[in-house]
């Protein structure tokens, strides 16, 4: 079954409408805002806050992916490009009701020599960039001077969520913010870069 971009959109739309429980958007936004502000007060270092947000996101992502796969019934993605499509059109839609636009990066052709099998032909180093036109986490937010200078990425939790979720499906990725409208940039962009595919790990302690 060839799944096209439009089909992904429909799946995402359908999941959002029928199979997602919803809460008040302002409550969500205010909660996240309070969280970030509290972290800033506790750590007082913006780089550290970014790290903590990412860690929190990672923990969320590792759990969220189960929910996502169960609800959506999406099978294995054929390549990293498809991963990007699914993330932007179904993932973000289901959880945040936004559909970021996606730009696929050019993958360098470097077949990995360590692994064998189909995974090796997917070039690591592939990237895709998500451009968010709206960000429900950052409604009403205005960053103060110190946060701007300190390099705070307000919605950094999203990077962690993506990293955690993709790691649970055997992809090690590096996710970073490239730009953010809160910082005065033109758009909000997240870049996801594939580092490598992970082999199924035997749990530690098994013999």
């Amino acid at each position: 079954m060839a799944t096209s971009s439009k089909q992904y959109k429909n799946v995402g739309e359908d999941l959002w409408k029928s199979r997602t429980e919803k809460i008040n958007a302002e409550l969500f936004t205010l909660t996240y805002g309070a969280l970030v502000v509290q972290l800033i007060q506790d750590y007082e270092d913006y780089a550290e806050v970014n790290k903590q947000l990412e860690k929190m996101g990672y923990n969320i992502g590792t759990r969220l992916i189960e929910d996502f796969l169960a609800k959506s019934g999406i099978g294995r993605c054929a390549d990293f490009r498809e991963v990007g499509e699914v993330v932007s059109k179904i993932g973000f839609k289901t959880f945040l009701n936004i559909t970021p636009s996606i730009t696929h990066g050019i993958a360098p052709t470097q077949p990995s020599s360590k692994h064998d099998g189909a995974a090796a032909t997917q070039a690591s180093g592939s990237t895709f960039t998500l451009t968010l036109d709206e960000n429900p986490l950052a409604e009403f937010v205005e960053l103060p001077e110190e946060a701007l200078q300190g390099g705070l990425w307000f919605s950094n939790v999203l990077c962690g969520v993506l990293r955690g979720a993709l790691e649970m499906v055997q992809m090690q990725v590096q996710v970073d913010f490239i730009s953010d409208v809160l910082r005065g940039d033109e758009s909000t962009e997240i870049r996801v870069k594939l580092v490598k595919y992970l082999e199924e790990e035997v749990p530690v302690g098994d013999d």
Partner: protein, 166 residues
Amino acid sequence: MAPNLRLNAVAFISPQNHPILIRTFAKQDEHSIKYHYIAHTSLDVIEERVNAGGKAMDCYLGLLYAMEDVAVYGYITPLKVKIVIALALSDSVVKDVEVVMIFKALHMAYYSAISNPFLKLDASMDGVQDHSPYLLVGSSKWKTFRERVDEISRVLSLTSNAVSNP
């Protein structure tokens, strides 16, 4: 749209009667300080109305008073933040419903500004009755708020100009 709805000034006043934002738009008035005075006098009138109103309080307080060349309208939010606007007096009838719309837009602008999670960050943590955010009236954090209020005034003048031009 009623023609000639010229918004001369807007004032936001905190529950403790501290000024939050006073913004004037009329260019012909050299003494925009007069709007500070207007906001001040409005406070007395508002207090009267509120006390007289009793339990059933509507947010919109209506025309408070008129003086010189402006008519002053008042609005009080459920948390006792007062919004006062001064409209230039004109011969045409000013519909209540227009004024209420202006107040609602201003109220929403204020709410958006207040929802900024960073607002309290710099406020002094000296345990003063939790109203420290209001004290930073001139600070840069209110910049977007000021812009929003300016935008409301601009839209207002645009629509009224559109109607009054033959």
